[in-house]
């Protein structure tokens, strides 16, 4: 059974207008997204700005109102309208993009990391301190930093504080929303390695949301590509990077800069070729509204949004 199952998720934001400020239209931020994340894997959600990847992540966290569709965590229906609200927030935690603004500058590290268990567990001050120091050591920060404030740390260290807070309650799923895009290359490497370590240690499942395909390729077993609120392709890492089927995926993959300057010309002409193909075959791959079709399996692991044939 999948740890997380998202079924036909739709999140529409109303556009208001007119004199009475009534709803006149919708922004379909997420428009029918279905996917499953298996226990222990790192699932990558990729897309450009406006693709709905962050909105999807927030919806799983319960931070967005869901228009329709269902989200299941370990088989429990998360957004059931009737009956009791299921609180899985202890089991699902989020790491945010910006290590500079996601930590409250007026709070000490102790208070930041202890916040989750102050909400969920009754602990004495002593136990709490012990727990926080243990977590700090786990994320590779010295345990005497409990009384420091966020500004006393570097970007990479702050992101680790964010991770320490996220793993404080031993969650099963971590939603990492662009966790490294505000960081320098070498710090990014540090945080990525560290996420892999922590995943192994705690047997975590990660939903990794990013726009950087290099990072996604490095981190994820399976990947879903989003475009304007829908999936255009989903598959194993090799499916996506070695055998992209949808023209949008091809274009994204071709846009990744190549670090070998000797292949520069070759890469550029390939990219121009893909761009041309994209423009020419746009109507073959997208419907009349410029949106993706529904996913159809091409192999056991690989699904592509192609129009109905015949």
């Amino acid at each position: 059974m999948a740890l997380l199952k998202v079924d036909d998720l739709k999140i529409h934001f109303p556009i208001r207008g007119g004199i009475l400020n009534r709803k006149i239209d919708d922004v379909r931020a997420v428009d029918g997204v279905s996917f499953e994340v298996k226990q222990g894997e790192t699932y990558g959600l990729v897309g450009e700005s406006g693709s709905g990847k962050t909105t999807t992540g927030k919806a799983i966290m319960g931070l967005n109102n869901i228009t329709s569709g269902d989200i299941y965590f370990e088989g429990t229906h998360l957004n059931a309208k009737k009956g009791k609200k299921v609180d899985v927030r202890r089991d699902v935690q989020m790491i945010f993009q910006d290590p500079y603004s996601s930590l409250n500058p007026r709070k000490r590290v102790l208070d930041i990391i202890a916040e989750p268990f102050r909400n969920y567990e009754k602990m004495t001050k002593k136990e709490e301190m012990f727990k926080v120091q243990e977590l700090l050591e786990k994320v590779g920060l010295s345990s005497d930093s409990v009384y420091k404030y966020p500004h006393e740390f570097s970007g990479g260290q702050r992101q680790r504080i964010g991770v320490a807070r996220a793993i404080a309650l031993k969650p099963k799923l971590i939603i990492a929303d662009e966790p490294v895009s505000a960081l320098d290359v070498s710090v990014q490497a540090q945080v990525l390695n560290f996420l892999q370590d922590i995943q192994k240690d705690l047997n975590l499942t990660i939903l990794f949301i990013a726009h950087d395909l290099g990072v996604i390729k490095h981190m994820c077993n399976r990947i879903g590509i989003m475009y304007r609120g829908r999936f255009v392709e989903e598959g194993l890492r090799d499916d996506i990077f070695n055998d992209p089927q949808h023209i949008y995926t091809k274009r994204l993959v071709a846009a990744i800069p190549d670090v070998d300057p000797r292949r520069r010309e070759e890469h550029q002409s390939f990219r121009a070729q893909v761009k041309e193909e994209y423009e020419q075959s746009f109507n073959d791959y997208f419907d009349e509204n410029g949106l993706a079709h529904s996913l159809k399996p091409v192999t056991d692991t690989h699904k592509v949004a192609l129009p109905e044939r015949g």
Binding site: G17, G18, I19, L20, N21
Partner: protein, 320 residues
């Protein structure tokens, strides 16, 4: 933009209804009624009751409210118990006086506030800025009524440069040059007092707005275009910093009117604020009720003005 303004106007309606209800309830709770002090004590109780019945005072509250609103819209707030004249006539003259005082104060506030704020923001942390910031701290710490008392004593009594009361010297022909000059003379000292204290918020706001704008990337781009400093400041920094101030204009009016209560009292200036305090002291309830309604309306219209100005000057709201 038009949609925004119309929508904003529509929101104003319920605000006014709530205000009028509030004032109506306030008036009903006050002791006495329209007959208090009006009638001969020798008239019999029955006759009074009959008069009450005729005046609708035994009607249910919503009928009374309706009658009151209809009266208010037509400018009928009843008679002043003290002056024995219609409240409307009494207030009208005072509104005009308060209007002039507020206008002079606003002019002073912008004449003082804009240059001080601009200088302070442009040369932040230099000596000149420290002096100006010091002044704003003093201004925040000084209550207006104390400052007004001090200026009245120093410039009114001690030096005798300004009149110490009234709105115009007695015996002048209204409309004549002397009359106008005398009016201005009476306005200067209270106007300046209000402005010198009231301006500090504007100065600090403008200063921080300018310092903020100075760090923006588009200022860097303006410099990279080869724009000289004067142009960078005039075209990019000041323009972008002053716009939020323009939106403050409406709130400024509200603030001035409430501020006028003390200042008019201290300078015995015959405006609405002074009348308000006198009426409270003499329990002239019909006047108090009318003034509370007017002050409330001024606040609502001030906020409306601010929002409309902002929608006109800021393209991010204008284009929608």
């Amino acid at each position: 933009m038009w949609k925004f303004i119309v929508r904003r106007l529509i929101i104003t309606m319920p605000q006014i209804v709530v205000l009028s209800l509030f004032v109506f309830i306030l008036a009903s709770l006050m002791p006495g009624d329209a007959l208090s002090g009006q009638i001969d004590p020798n008239i019999s109780r029955d006759a009074i009751d009959e008069m009450r019945e005729r005046l609708g005072m035994n009607d249910p509250w919503y009928i009374q409210y309706k009658d009151w609103v209809v009266g208010a819209v037509q400018g009928d707030f009843g008679d002043s118990f003290r002056f024995k004249m219609p409240v409307t006539d009494l207030i009208w003259g005072r509104i005009i006086n308060t209007f002039w005082l507020s206008l002079v104060s606003v002019i002073f506030i912008y004449a003082i506030g804009l240059p001080l704020g601009i200088i302070s923001g442009r040369y932040n942390d230099r000596l000149i800025d420290q002096v100006i910031t010091g002044y704003t701290y003093l201004g925040f710490a000084t209550p207006l009524f104390i400052f007004a008392l001090v200026t009245l004593w120093v410039f009114g009594f001690h030096f005798g440069w300004f009149p110490t009361g009234g709105s115009v010297a007695p015996g002048l022909e209204p409309g004549s040059m002397e009359y106008i000059l005398s009016k201005l003379h009476h306005l200067l000292l209270p106007g300046l007092s209000i402005a010198l204290i009231g301006v500090v918020g504007t100065v600090q706001y403008l200063r921080s707005e300018i310092i903020d704008t100075k760090q923006k990337d588009f200022i860097l781009l303006a410099r990279a275009k080869g724009a000289p400093e004067s142009r960078v400041y005039n075209r990019h920094i000041f323009r972008n910093s002053v716009l939020p101030i323009a939106a403050f204009f409406g709130y400024e009016i509200t603030m001035l009117i409430s501020g006028s209560v003390f200042v008019e009292r201290i300078y015995s200036y015959p405006g609405m604020g002074n009348l308000f305090i006198e009426s409270i002291l003499l329990r002239d309830y019909s006047v108090v009720t009318a003034l509370v309604l007017l002050f409330g309306l001024a606040a609502i219209i001030g906020a409306l003005l601010s929002d409309i100005i902002l929608s006109i000057v800021d393209p991010r709201i204008r284009i929608k």
